[in-house]
Symmetry: C2
Subunit: 124 residues, 2 copies
Amino acid sequence: MFVQIDFNSDEAIYIQLRNQIIYGIATSQLQEGENLPSVRDLAEHIGINMHTVNKAYAMLKQEGYLKLDRRKGAVIAVDIDKLQAIREMREELRVVLARAFCKNISCEEAHEIVNDIFSEFERG
Amino acid sequence: MFVQIDFNSDEAIYIQLRNQIIYGIATSQLQEGENLPSVRDLAEHIGINMHTVNKAYAMLKQEGYLKLDRRKGAVIAVDIDKLQAIREMREELRVVLARAFCKNISCEEAHEIVNDIFSEFERG
DNA sequence: TATCTGTTATACTAAATGTATAACAGATAT
DNA sequence: ATATCTGTTATACATTTAGTATAACAGATA
């Protein structure tokens, strides 16, 4: 498993876990229909509590990245609500880019970084 | 004052306040050398505690957006550490764009939104 | 001297985070 | 049938964070 938790981070463990699973989907390390480890297995592997993993899974379900099946466990299943995704992205980008603009990062430089990151995804 | 706090948000008040002040700098509503209200005045105006404002100001100081002068109070003074700003931006964008990519938002669509937001800044 | 700054200290409540057991209901395999 | 695996829920506890509330300090200013 590719998950790497930073226990000294100010970011909550279940948020780190959620973000890394989403990154895994974006980079095709996790593919549609694929199973995630059970909450108990993943918790033991990382060395955290079952409920912390469950919280991440529940969040991913609510945000449309997982379906939780009692037969198969947690399965990658991305629900595409593109309009809402764009709305959310715009709000988050507004905060990130405001900081960038204050620090003299140009629109062109931002575009370059966006391209870099998208190429991480498209390489898989 | 342009600050608008959402008390039902899951985002901490001092984080909302910090983000809005940074957005204010990016859109030139707040300009280099300009004074912010004193922690006590702004707290009273918003209807929150003085320490919550102080926490936002301390954070903005630590991140290089303010200088806190006992004579003048809080003064906008952006310290440009572009390399660090790019590093931080890249990490944050990785999370935001991974979500976008999973939701079928293309690189081109991301660029359009970046352009939209930068035009908010450059209009002032 | 009185008043304005940011800053620090202390104390309290409420909420969020993470851990720990335990149990439930559906599905699966033996 | 029985045991075992799922996610899920309930309860309890400790720690940390967020926000509020008073109070005081030190430098600057009028």
